[in-house]
Symmetry: C2
């Protein structure tokens, strides 16, 4: 009931974006972005469950929970503003105040987000200067959205954007967004920043509920390395400019909106997984036939997070024993002698375990299937009819290289 | 109250060992070992918590729980006999029967253990032939114990043996053992096989209790890669030949025995961590000042298991933000603004976080400290007085290389 369109965070009516080089930590690349809405938006957000929360997470969480409305987002890459104490909180306020002044809006309608190295303080003068550069550059174009998606990257190798359109109450409603990965990614929440915009007219309560429900099956099913970041943030701004009758209950209009939101967040979640640090392949794990949804989630996350399985995917090795092993330590009760396991990709499908016992399979065919850029493992637990899908990536030499000297 | 002595699994009175080339999977190296006791021993064991349990785990668990006695252990490396169904169970019985015949003892006093690739069936003819080769080679010498420790290695780079002596009831009591790591290592249980022998005279019940309590602070505090194996097994055999009065209650004698056992298992656990797949350094994480022991265990395990932290240790990078982040997602409540973090090694000590905020520290000194072969991170939570220590290793290119093509 939706179609994919070009663009990202500026696809929906009323949103513009800009990017600039602020010289925060990176050289010769953009490292700050701004999203801006013509009018006040309803704002929803979900944040990291890490006890150690970065300053911007605390700032945004307060605005979303107390006010539920916002008009701009200022994002920097390079430094995460985490483990920075009171100074870090002051920098959030100063960033919001600088944006408020440049844009002529209240400071408490400016959300902020940071990603990068933990523990360093932001160079506040350069952040403030960046904000002043960004405001006059704001444009309501696909290109401006694309520039913003590039500026928020850290070890990401490509910008990540998606947009879809659906029809609600006879009006075209757009949901679009951009996000960045790509290390310190793990469920609850992944380490990621994701910024979704929509022109849907929807109540603040339902906007928040739609997001809260949606992340369970999207971002929270992504694991790159098992590390739950201090900064993970998903923000969702709704301008209401599509002109549909306000969605205030969980009827058909709400369903249409959540379908479009699901599509955007699933696509972004997959992009994060496929662009995990050092990844050469997206690794998808589907668990079917689980006794409960909760079991299916635990099982699929356990496999997608297994270092040994991830290394085997990198080696294009159908090491099904490691998959079965990872199912086994998921903390879920099941009968190991019932499990079937299949690998699937663009190159075909191959069953490797039946009723818990490894089959004698065609290794050449298996290697071909596991050599694709997207590989899926499907585990049938035969314990019930619940299912879940998790996304990750392979574990590579490059992951180690990236993370052995990230700070230097 | 104990002294370290030379040797391993044959150090205690009454135990002999042998190794041979059975050609199970490896070429030009030993791949089978046998431990044998002159008389029937009391036997204790702890096993993997993985739902998927290898056949030898099921075999041993039954003997330990029903009989609590054993006289021999047959171990092979190369193939794990896991995910092998009924055929795998039959092979355990056949192995025990072959050993029983060769040694002239009952089959249900023969424990078996396997380590290696999951999913492949054992070549039963070669196993049986190996058992027949091993029996006449048994020797009660340090060298024979050393040969056995070498034969059980998989991706281990060095054999792992420890032995200590203490005095109980006026008699010299020896506790010794051997173990192998080194991938698929994670708490509850680690993937490891560990075989401890002692000549202490101790009741079956206290032997099992001593082991069960001990592994909580030793093997269960080791994590190499977060993967809990299908095969992890710790066996403890007591010959009683030291001649001390039987330990039947938790008095001073029991305490002396558990101290010696703790020393052996701690040393072996550290050896497993330091020889984790691809490791260049042992990474020790001490959490102090936690609100409870349970919290301290969770916090230390979380840090030692963090891929990002492990990669930073490999890069000799004092990336303290990652440590604080890993504390934060341990699932424990604490005040991030109280935490102190210090790195320590043979090259010195450096405090990098105080009250949750990163200090401006000497990066050259930090790099020197983190470049040692054993590095310790000490986190003071300032929430109480509980503490715990976990052991792991750095995450390296070599880990990925080993695991990307382990089966081939």
């Amino acid at each position: 009931m939706f179609i994919k369109i070009k663009g990202g965070a500026t696809a929906a009516k009323g949103f513009s974006a800009a990017a600039c080089e602020a010289g925060i930590k990176y050289k010769d690349r953009t490292d700050m972005a701004m999203l801006y809405a013509e009018g006040m938006c309803r704002a929803a957000g979900t944040f990291t469950t890490n006890v150690v929360k970065a300053a911007p997470v605390l700032w945004d969480r307060q605005i979303v929970s107390e006010k539920g409305a916002a008009q701009a987002v200022v994002i920097n890459s390079g430094i995460a503003n985490a483990c920075t104490g009171e100074e870090g909180m002051r920098y959030c306020r100063q960033t919001a105040e600088a944006a408020a002044e440049a844009l002529g809006i209240p400071a408490d309608s400016v959300l902020v987000a940071s990603t990068g190295v933990i523990g360093m303080q932001l160079p506040m003068d350069r952040i403030a200067e960046g904000v002043r550069k960004l405001a006059p550059k704001l444009e309501n174009t696909i290109e401006a959205g694309h520039s913003a998606a590039k500026a928020i990257m850290t070890t990401d190798t490509r910008p990540k954007e998606v947009a879809v359109q659906t029809t609600i109450d006879g009006k075209i409603v757009t949901v679009g967004g951009m996000c960045k990965g790509s290390g310190m990614i793990h469920p609850n929440m992944c380490t990621m920043l994701s910024f979704i915009t929509t022109d849907a007219n929807i109540s603040r309560e339902l906007l928040q509920e739609a997001l809260r429900e949606d992340i369970k099956d999207t971002y929270n099913m992504v694991s790159v390395d098992g590390d739950t970041s201090t900064n993970a943030t998903v923000l969702l701004l709704a301008s209401g400019l599509a002109g549909n009758k306000e969605i205030t209950e969980k009827g058909e209009d709400y369903l249409l909106f959540t379908e479009a939101l699901r599509e955007v967040n699933t696509a972004l979640a997959r992009k994060i997984a496929g662009d995990g640090e050092g990844a050469t392949a997206l690794f998808e794990v589907k668990v079917v036939g689980a006794a409960s949804k909760e079991d299916a989630v635990k099982l699929s996350k356990s496999v997608v997070g297994s270092s040994l399985t991830k290394a085997a995917i990198y080696g294009h090795d159908a090491n099904c024993g490691r998959v079965l092993c990872a199912l086994g330590y998921a903390g879920v009760d099941f009968d190991p002698e019932k499990v079937d396991l299949t690998f699937e990709s663009a190159a075909g499908t191959i069953k490797v375990i039946e009723d818990g016992v490894m089959l004698s399979f065609d290794e050449v065919k298996a290697k071909a299937i596991l050599s694709q850029s997207e590989v899926t493992a499907i585990a049938d637990m035969k314990m019930g009819d619940a299912c879940a899908t998790a996304w990750g990536c392979d574990l590579t030499h490059e992951y180690v290289s990236i993370n052995a000297d990230y700070r230097s």
